[in-house]
């Protein structure tokens, strides 16, 4: 009996098999990787430009509204968390809760856009534009490119929210929600890199 127990205890535990594909449609992942590639090139170019003009970048960074950048980071990571909770809810067949989480995520996304527009209004009123200097050229290109992605992400979340409210997703069928969620998390991921690079490190 003792020998049998030992044999049972030493049996190898089979490892959970890795899933072949990430959540959502494969097509959205091709799109996500392309977007990450574009943002990656911009971030790397920013790094090299900063290398050659460190004093200018440090000086100009002090003119940014770091509090607004941090608030926007809080809003985006919170939006991402809400969307992750929405997916977790639909996996439990809780459509109403899932829709509420999606709405909360969209409100946070809307908050991000509002704060960013406030920031842009402040900068434009000071006469800042693409020709101001190299730092502001990168600031405007990087943040506006990201801003457009947030708008697209909001549109996708809006569609997913409406479909969720109508009961269009379930625990057995929510690939569409995972597709939208994956895109939204990419938008969050890019900002998580953008904020420290542009607003903080010097």
């Amino acid at each position: 009996m003792a020998a049998m127990n030992t044999a049972v205890q030493t049996l190898p535990v089979p490892a959970a098999e890795a899933r072949p594909h990430p959540p959502g449609d494969l097509a959205i992942w091709v799109f996500i990787l392309a977007e990450l590639g574009a943002f990656g090139l911009l971030f790397i170019t920013y790094g090299f430009a900063r290398m050659s003009h460190a004093a200018l970048f440090d000086q100009m960074q002090q003119t940014l509204n770091r509090d607004a950048g941090a608030l926007n980071t809080v809003l985006l990571v919170t939006a991402s968390w809400c969307v992750a909770r929405a997916v977790a809810s639909i996996r439990n067949n809780a459509s109403a809760a899932s829709a509420r989480w999606l709405l909360a995520g969209m409100l946070c996304g809307g908050g991000f856009l509002a704060v960013k527009m406030f920031e842009y209004a402040e900068k434009f009123s000071q006469g800042v534009n693409l020709d101001t200097n190299l730092f502001y050229m990168f600031y405007l290109i990087l943040t506006f490119f990201h801003f457009m992605h947030v708008i697209l992400g909001m549109g996708i979340l809006g569609y997913v929210w409406l479909k969720t409210r109508r009961g269009g997703y379930s625990a057995a069928d929510h690939n569409g929600m995972e597709t939208g969620a994956s895109y939204w998390h990419m938008v969050d991921l890019v900002w998580i890199v953008l904020f420290p690079l542009v607003y903080v490190m010097r």
Binding site: R19, T78, R91
Partner: protein, 91 residues
């Protein structure tokens, strides 16, 4: 049919709390005027941890085939490493 493992709400909440904590610390580093290589390494390391949490837990790449995780985590590592190297070279 859904074959994805259900992430617990608690683990998602913990990730969110960690992301907020990392954001607050990054903001503090900037607001208190921290500059130089040590501060930059800390700032980029925090960004790396936050990004990895989003990739693995929110994007749910944990448990997906390694090449998918490696591709997205690799993107994050390359972007941060090149920016750190460029910062160092620009000193």
């Amino acid at each position: 049919m859904n074959t994805l493992p259900t992430q617990s709400n608690f683990s998602l909440d913990l990730v969110w709390a960690a992301l907020l904590l990392g954001t607050a610390y990054t903001w503090w580093l900037g607001d208190s005027g921290q500059a130089g290589p040590r501060a930059v390494m800390a700032i980029l390391a925090i960004a790396g941890v936050k990004g990895a949490l989003v990739i693995r837990e929110f994007m749910a790449l944990r448990g997906v085939r390694l090449r998918w995780q490696a591709t997205v985590l690799g993107w994050l590592a390359v972007v941060l490493a090149i920016n750190l190297a460029a910062y160092w070279k620009g000193l």
